[in-house]
């Protein structure tokens, strides 16, 4: 909660840069790309895209953002606008990869738990942790944790309601609890 003023300030800053982008300020693309790409890349990675795919999706996202930049309304929060586009790019990317039958099983079958050299290390990395969640819950938790979006912003980005987002997050966290317990028990047994 103590970080909120800084977060709000940076969101306001993003909104201002987005307006400058619409006005064709040549510095705006560089600022927006460097400010938003790491979180977007992490968003794609945690949605089970491999590094190469994630970078392709990132490029597609920026191209699409560029094409539809006139649809951003000054004064509106920019993050839900960006994530709604990124989310759609991810869905299209998934469908395209399924169509060409390359990564057919990547999104349908949950990845196996990564092998850990030290069995006492019970906490898996974020991606491995959320990979076990159903897609809708994984998406919400990634946006909360990685994107730093509020419930209201996630609702906007996912064309949903705040109530539905809250419910998905609750279910996701309940599932993560069970998962972490099973990791802890497995690690305890291995010792």
């Amino acid at each position: 909660m103590r970080e909120k003023p800084e977060v709000e300030r940076s969101c306001a800053e993003l909104d201002r840069w987005m307006e400058r982008y619409q006005q064709a300020d040549p510095q705006a693309p560089a600022f927006l790309v460097s400010a938003l790409s790491p979180a977007l890349l992490r968003f794609f990675r945690s949605q089970l895209a491999n590094p190469g795919q994630a970078e392709d999706l990132l490029q597609d996202t920026w191209l699409r953002i560029h094409r539809v930049r006139h649809t951003y309304r000054p004064g509106e929060p920019v993050l839900p606008w960006i994530y709604a586009i990124a989310r759609r790019v991810r869905v299209d990317g998934y469908r395209r990869s399924r169509r060409i039958n390359v990564h057919e099983t990547a999104m349908e079958v949950l990845p196996e738990r990564p092998a850990q050299s030290d069995p006492r290390h019970v906490l898996p990395v974020f991606d491995a942790l959320v990979a076990a969640l159903p897609e809708a819950q994984r998406e919400v938790i990634t946006m909360l944790k990685v994107g730093g979006l509020s419930l209201e912003e996630i609702a906007r980005a996912t064309s949903s309601t705040v109530g539905a987002v809250k419910q998905k997050a609750h279910r996701g966290y309940d599932r993560l609890r069970k998962l972490l317990r099973s990791y802890a028990e497995a690690a305890g047994g291995a010792q």
Partner: protein
């Protein structure tokens, strides 16, 4: 304090600093302790390669020119509703208003009220679908279904059910009259919608098809004096449903065509 409260605290981002009650719960609940611990771990930062950064920036700067932000929501909403009303009214040049004379004031008010509410809901949903990240009061995927159910219930409640001798002929005549009106409405609706960013062509085209079809339904409700509920459901509402299905198919084709041309 219980696990549910901890969930709420995590979701609302208030785990840091922990309240004394939350801290007390974490001391006794291993599951919550593990969850909070896992979420407190920093998520590794991913940075795109410098080549990717440069490519993206170059692509954006190369085609950088000022753009005018899309019109405010209320203007687009008014435009969509105006198209719906104008097309329905223009259809009077082709059809006569026989149905108005045949219906009771209650039937007239209720059916046109239901059509206006349905068109308003669809227009509102379409306005939001044009701008990514809009705030939705109703999930956009469910609006066409809700509108269809609303109209079916309204028709079933307002008009009597009875058998007709030339039922299918009557249905065909009305559908043949209503579809051109729907097609006529679809063109300006599409011209307005193409200004936005359509992220889900299937959902948007279905809603647009249904709105265009409702213009045809309204025209038939003004014109057709046949007040049998089965007839109205099958032909007048049928026009809207046919238009929605056409929209769905077009949306599906657009979505898949996009995937095919960019494998």
């Amino acid at each position: 304090m219980n696990c549910e409260n901890i969930n709420r605290a995590i979701i609302e981002g208030s785990t840091s600093p922990l309240t004394p009650e939350a801290g007390e719960h974490l001391r006794t609940c291993a599951k919550c302790r593990e969850l909070v611990g896992a979420l407190k771990l920093a998520v590794p930062t991913d940075l795109p390669s410098s080549t990717v950064f440069r490519e993206i920036e170059r692509g954006l700067v190369a085609d950088l020119r000022p753009v005018r932000p899309i019109a405010p929501k209320r203007y687009i909403f008014v435009s969509l509703m105006a198209i719906f009303i104008v097309v329905a009214v223009l259809s009077l040049s082709r059809f006569r208003a026989f149905a108005i004379a045949a219906m009771t004031p209650l039937q007239t008010g209720a059916i046109f009220g239901a059509l206006a509410i349905s068109a308003g809901l669809l227009a509102y949903s379409l306005v939001n679908q044009m701008v990514p990240g809009s705030r939705y009061r109703f999930p956009p995927g469910k609006v066409p279904l809700a509108v269809t159910i609303l109209l079916m219930v309204s028709i079933a409640a307002l008009f009597p059910f009875y058998e007709e001798r030339s039922f299918w002929f009557g249905v065909w005549v009305c559908i043949r009259g209503g579809i051109p009106v729907a097609a006529f409405a679809a063109v300006p609706l599409w011209l307005v919608l193409r200004r936005g960013a359509i992220l889900s062509p299937i959902m948007t085209a279905t809603a647009m098809g249904l709105l265009a079809g409702l213009a045809g339904t309204t025209a038939l409700e003004i014109h057709c004096p046949n007040l049998a509920a089965w007839h109205i459901l099958a032909s007048h509402l049928g026009v809207a449903l046919i238009a929605a299905i056409v929209g769905l198919v077009v949306g599906w084709a657009v979505e898949n065509w996009k995937l095919i041309i960019r494998p």
